[in-house]
Symmetry: C2
Subunit: 407 residues, 2 copies
């Protein structure tokens, strides 16, 4: 019997307890031992839980219980999850988590503590919910050098964009629908401003390239400025607009990482990932493109990934799974100004196409009287911004600009 | 240093040696030890190989070398791979393989020997080439009961079907093109008759449901009878034709497993998997649908999966990875006659639609003079065949029938 604790009995935590109880027999047959949920930490009370007698409001009950070898941290947020995780690891307990905010903020430090203490810190559920991604990247693709990772990493924004694309809904209406259906929080800013997707691409970038990438080093744009007009022009260019987290290794050894809405060509595997689903493309030097698809959030999908990590810890109580990256100072990340993309521009003004051609060179354009949309060749953002200024100087109003993700 | 041997220096085997040499530093950083290719078994000579001095034509050189702890069997075929694998496992060496034919034919026995000898027998590369699938199913989805697995598991046939769908090529022309491009063997029968896809769905079914499924227990149809007319009717029904390996758990605890061409609705994630790519959908009771996509074959993709298994073995020289299924006698598999599908029928004759409606009940039909195509409601194959006989008795010629895969 391996005793474990679950910290947090919210959506994911209650799912973890539920799966461990309902799938007990199957998990027993894999591990050869029972997983026993000895303690559940939550400030609330859950008298209807089948294990209501094992709830505690005091973290000390967990940290002081030497029988508890594995702890699932599914509280979310940085504090006190960070302090609790550190103390658990230092007390020789392995920790598994779905807490992407914490992993993105303190992953390198927590992985280093786990290494020192010879325990595991696993976080399969922190990216892509129930989609296997951390373990496949870390183990199955271990014999690859990863060249690029790009993904639709946030289900809320993907749902909103899908409604805009397929049903012609306005952003605000699509957001309201997402909230009604439970896909978006009452305060949706972490999703729609891109912060959630940014944390996830930071985790994948840290894993792929071995150095921690902190979210505040990453240029992040949300989808609040995307209009139906952009969606329709994108379609005319054979693209759909998706919020993409992307990191790419450059020839100089540095990485180019960004979270931003992008025009994605319809033939791309990521273009067909709709509604609340997530999809992640990993480009390896040996495998080529591999894509993982599924529900990126939700109680049971996320909880099942947490449970898989619990199982892995139970099977590796004395040995460590190799999952590690060093701390990073951002020096391996290029400035967003140097980041190269083809750019989509929507503009307004007399002779806009001719003026854009004069300034940008070769473009693909769609003209509709004074209204125009065009896509430039690839260029660094600094060059693009300069040229936009020139275009504005020629009396053309630039209404929106979006990157083209050649995925 | 961990010494390993590679048996077979063909496409995959030479790729394994290449990756182990070119990615030496990366793999060292993961394992903390060097992987040393001590012997390569092949009857041919490779004087240009950078490790030409380590080739041997004698298997005894490998089996008798106590330093060799891990053996990659990438010979293909059943004999002598089966005998060699058994002897290696019994000698306490872990074995990894890309040999789907061997795993499908003798997996249960070899896994049992590995268990007894406390070594590992891993085969990530046997399904989906470089696409992570065995390990994700076995580890990441461990807290799920799998309800269904369905996939495009053979790149050759998918390439041929894509050319028929997108370019209107005839089957024979598409096959010839596949051979010219190296996607199809000179003798393409294992691919186009569905045997290769069948072996792979057998491996996935064995893994998902814990009992070995032997290929000769599985109804298998290839794509040689698919015509351009069927492809065009499928499109009119909003579908594409794909060769699908599928296994599904039924309420009575038995499984329904089949390899056959199917009409796949265009909105399905599997419908967009084109050309030589593979895609595998796993439906878990917690995660819902998860899809894995990538190159299902090829030298480096497949070799990189073999190398990932080598790394896993090197990190688990003294412990076992849990990967196991028991032997099976086919008693858990329902007869193909009881397998339930909606069916697509292409037919010819006066009043075909009215006659079909009388016999099949509700159908969706497309009429074009005497030529007609229709899709029935769901029914077991035995019922469908009876009804087809009745339709033939009414003077209607049935030209083709294909299952509808509601994936």
């Amino acid at each position: 019997m391996v005793s474990i604790a679950v910290m947090g009995h919210g959506v994911v935590g209650s799912g973890v307890v539920q799966i461990l109880l309902t799938h007990k027999q199957k998990l027993f047959s894999v591990i050869g031992e029972e997983i026993y949920v000895k303690k559940v930490l939550d400030l609330r009370e859950f008298p209807d839980s089948p294990i209501s007698d094992r709830f505690t409001k005091d973290f000390e009950d967990i940290i002081n219980d030497l029988e508890i070898r594995v702890v699932a941290e599914v509280m979310g947020g940085i504090h006190p999850a960070y302090e609790y995780t550190k103390r658990c690891l230092k007390a020789g307990k392995s920790v598994v988590t779905s807490n992407k905010e914490l992993v993105a903020a303190h992953g390198a430090e927590l992985l280093e503590i786990a290494r020192q203490e010879n325990v595991n810190y696993l976080f399969e559920a922190s990216v892509g919910g129930g989609i296997p991604i951390i373990r496949p990247m870390n183990q199955c693709l271990v014999a690859n050098n990863v060249d690029e990772v790009a993904g639709i990493l946030n289900g809320t924004t993907n749902f909103i964009l899908t409604k805009m694309i397929e049903d012609g809904m306005q952003f605000e209406d699509a957001l309201r629908l997402a909230q009604e259906l439970g896909f978006a929080e009452r305060d949706p800013s972490a999703d729609i401003e891109g912060h959630d997707a940014c944390r996830k691409i930071c985790i994948l970038a840290s894993l792929a390239f071995g150095k921690h990438v902190y979210p505040d080093c990453v240029h992040t744009e949300g989808i609040t400025k995307i209009t139906l007009e952009d969606v329709k022009y994108a379609e005319k260019f054979g693209c759909v607009i998706k919020l993409i987290g992307r990191v790419k290794k450059l020839d100089n050894g540095k990485i180019d990482i960004i979270t931003a809405p992008m025009l994605v060509p319809e033939k791309s595997q990521l273009a067909n990932i709709d509604n609340e689903f997530n999809g992640i493309m990993v480009r390896g030097d040996c495998t080529g493109d591999v894509v993982f698809y599924g529900k990126g959030a939700g109680k049971l999908p996320t909880a099942s990934a947490v449970c898989a990590d619990i199982v892995d810890c139970c099977m590796h109580l004395k040995t460590r799974r190799f999952l590690f990256w060093a701390d990073g100072d951002g020096s391996n990340i290029i400035s967003v100004k140097d980041s190269v993309f083809k750019m989509y521009v929507r503009a307004n003004g007399s002779g806009a196409v001719a003026k854009a051609e004069k300034i940008f060179g070769k473009i693909k354009s769609i003209e509709d009287g004074k209204r125009v949309a065009f896509i430039t060749e690839s260029m660094p953002l600094c060059e693009f911004e300069e040229k936009c200024e020139k275009l504005t100087g020629e009396g053309i109003e630039i209404l929106s600009t979006i990157r083209l993700g050649d995925l």
